[in-house]
């Protein structure tokens, strides 16, 4: 009687379904990419086909699964602009304009290939279900499907470094199957909490031929701030939290 039980246990242990828990992998990827609550400084660089560049410096606060707020520090034309995301709700605050206005995930507050969903990215496991997972050499391949139509990309194909459990490349698709963009995670480095993470996120898109955008993480530091910081009325005061 003991032999069949051991055999079943061994079979379960080596079967792909038991060995590969896609949700677990995705959660680990999220945890390795960024702490649950943190502040960061990022530089966005849009590069045009002729080599001309446009750079933006952002300071960002994130808390938990669904709260993220960003403030533009440079260039001068964008300075003071703030963005807030609470779950599926997104707002843009422009200091001279009235109250913060609701914006959508597919728009881009900076132009270029990155859109608002990329700039205010929540954890992947919050927005996506794992449809399939498989091993491909030294990588995991995850096929992800958006949990709701409010998510910017309907489907993601994610290749993950098996050893570090960090994404290498993500292809983002519309519901029609159209490839919207590809994200490349590069230049891993140790951040303030000692964790090694990609410091550069590069993207290109068949919809913007010849254009590329980079998101460079200069600092990521664990920080927990009160929930009230992530509110519409606080957005004009976000600078005071730096």
């Amino acid at each position: 009687m003991k032999i069949p039980l051991i055999a079943i246990a061994v079979l379960l242990a080596v079967s792909p379904a038991a060995a590969l828990d896609g949700v677990d992998i995705l959660k680990k990827v999220d945890a390795n990419l960024q702490p649950e609550s943190f502040e960061s400084y990022r530089k966005l660089i849009n590069v045009e086909p002729n080599g001309a560049k446009r750079e933006y410096l952002l300071w960002t606060l994130k808390k938990g699964d669904d709260k993220i707020a960003s403030l533009f520090l440079a260039p001068a034309s964008e300075k003071g602009r703030g963005t807030l995301r609470l779950g599926d709700n997104m707002w843009l605050y422009i200091p001279t304009v009235g109250k913060p206005i609701r914006i959508t995930s597919l728009q881009s507050v900076v132009g270029g290939v990155f859109n608002n969903a990329d700039i205010m990215q929540l954890d992947y496991h919050v927005e996506y279900d794992v449809r399939a997972v498989e091993e491909q050499g030294g990588e995991y391949f995850l096929d992800l499907k958006a949990k709701s139509t409010a998510v910017a990309y309907d489907q993601l194909k994610m290749w993950v470094d098996r050893k570090r459990l960090l994404p290498i490349r993500i292809e983002c698709y519309a519901a029609t199957g159209l490839l919207i963009k590809t994200l490349y995670f590069k230049e891993p480095k140790a951040f303030d909490d000692g964790r090694v993470r990609p410091s550069i996120l590069e993207t290109d898109s068949p919809l913007y031929k010849g254009y590329r955008s980079f998101m460079v993480y200069a600092r990521i530091k664990k920080r927990v701030v009160p929930d009230e910081v992530f509110t519409l009325d606080f957005l004009p005061r976000l600078e005071t939290m730096r």
């Binding site: 001279t96 597919l106 132009g111 009230e228």
Partner: protein, 443 residues
């Protein structure tokens, strides 16, 4: 004038001829983290910030010499079919922070030179001190724009703000002197945020006199909820300077690319003094409602549509406005035939008040379509805007091209064509068309 023109030409040449950036393919090897670190350190270490922009705007006005407002404006003589104006503006914004205390200021230095007017002035738009003991509690004292309402072109619930210019609603406004306290609480569940704002608004002969009767301390309050992913606000204004008014607004995304919003305001005991065709005022006192419903829709091709309907309960009816125009016509005819200026002077006074404010009638439509970066031209946005007076069928059409050829430089070319029959709002404005170029450099 020469200085302004010289500055304009210099800025334009620099904008158009200077290379946008060092050309060359960017790779991750070109990104120097230490340079970014230095830039961050500079922003973190400073407790103060100073910035703003320099703006030059030449404008060409094409006059409608038969229009009522043209007759009132140029009573003493015909200034010709067109006029040019050059505006040079320096905007300065600064802030300072120390612990829970902060200061903020925004001011314009503006000089206007042109065929009609020449003037220079300095405007303090905002200047206030803030205390923020916790993120959930803040007190502001000073001149401040309170910014209530969800509408893009109009805000009937903005009880303590100056009205926006609906033809250019993103222009910075001048604030009122207020004491404002705000408390915010966040929650889990469907009710995510509750925020309460109380505003004390004094009105004296020298302070906030535009808000109404002097020697009163008025109180305004707003309760904000983020409930079931919907922004909800309820407002109140009460005091001796203006009659009591109540407001409500909402905004919600129906889908990620489709937003709806609305505002409703009840103004109690609103006094209106429309004139008949002989210029005699009739006092009417009534509770009036103003409201606005609007939407913002983003297509897959990144065209943004904004549409708003505005019902202005404080506005004039079409018949009342026609009576005013008839009064201008008869007063003008009397002045020209007899030299008696009594009637036309009274018409000028009326035009400087309620009859001359932007959108003085009851019903309006605002429509705007803008296309982000067409033909793969980054930082270029063409747009077409129209404001339609639903009461009399007159309208303005505003085509616009905005382009940022390099970091911190923005060019905006804009036209406006005003279309309407006699005795209609846009038909009786002093201009038939307007053409303007705005060159703005941020620093």
């Amino acid at each position: 004038m020469n200085v302004a023109l010289g500055a304009a030409v210099t800025l334009l040449l620099w904008a158009l001829l200077a290379p946008a950036a060092a050309a060359g393919a960017q790779s991750t090897n070109d990104i120097r983290l230490e340079d970014i670190e230095k830039e961050i350190a500079r922003t973190v270490e400073r407790p103060y910030s100073l910035g703003g922009f320099l703006e030059l705007q030449p404008t060409l006005f094409g006059f409608d010499r038969d229009a009522a407002f043209h007759r009132l404006r140029f009573l003493d003589g015909d200034e010709g079919a067109t006029a040019a104006q050059y505006d040079l503006k320096l905007r300065l914004e600064g802030s300072y922070r120390k612990g829970i205390f902060s200061l903020f200021g925004r001011a314009d230095a503006l000089t206007t030179q042109g065929d009609l007017d020449s003037e220079s002035r300095i405007n303090l738009l905002e200047g206030f001190a803030s205390l923020k003991p916790t993120p959930g509690l803040a007190v502001d004292v000073g001149e401040k724009v309170v910014k209530w309402g969800k509408g893009y072109a109009w805000n009937p619930v903005a009880f303590v703000d100056r009205p926006k210019n609906p033809e250019d609603p993103e222009l910075a406004l001048e604030g009122f002197y207020v004491v404002a306290a705000q408390a915010i609480r966040s929650f889990g569940g469907p009710l995510k945020t509750v925020a309460f704002t109380a505003v004390g608004v004094p009105v004296d002969t020298d302070v906030n006199e535009e808000l109404g009767e002097a020697d009163h301390l008025n109180l305004a309050a707003k309760l904000y909820l983020l409930l079931f992913d919907t922004d909800l606000d309820a407002m109140l204004f009460t005091g001796g300077s203006r009659t009591t008014r109540f407001g409500f607004d909402f905004a919600r995304n129906i889908t990620p690319n489709f937003e709806v919003h609305g505002e409703w305001a009840l103004i109690t005991d609103f006094e209106q003094r429309p004139v008949d065709e002989r210029g005699r005022p009739v006092l009417r006192v009534a509770d009036v409602m103003s409201y606005l419903v609007g939407l913002r829709y983003l297509t897959e091709r990144e065209t943004t549509f904004i549409a708003e309907y505005y019902r202005n309960g404080t506005g004039f009816t079409g018949a009342q406005m026609e009576d005013f125009f008839r009064f201008v016509e008869t007063s003008d005819a009397t002045f020209r035939s007899t030299g008696n200026p009594t009637g036309i002077r009274r018409a000028i006074t009326l035009a400087e008040g309620a009859y001359g404010r932007p959108n003085p009638l009851r019903s309006y439509l605002y429509l705007r379509a803008s296309q982000k970066e067409p033909f793969d031209i980054l930082y270029f946005t063409p747009a077409l805007t129209s404001i339609v007076n639903v009461v009399d069928g007159s309208f303005v059409v505003i085509p616009e091209l905005t382009y940022s050829p390099r970091t911190n430089l923005e060019l905006r070319l804009r036209g406006a064509a005003l279309v309407g029959e006699d005795r209609t709002e846009y038909g009786e404005k002093q201009t038939d068309y307007r053409l303007e170029l705005r060159v703005r450099y941020y620093f």
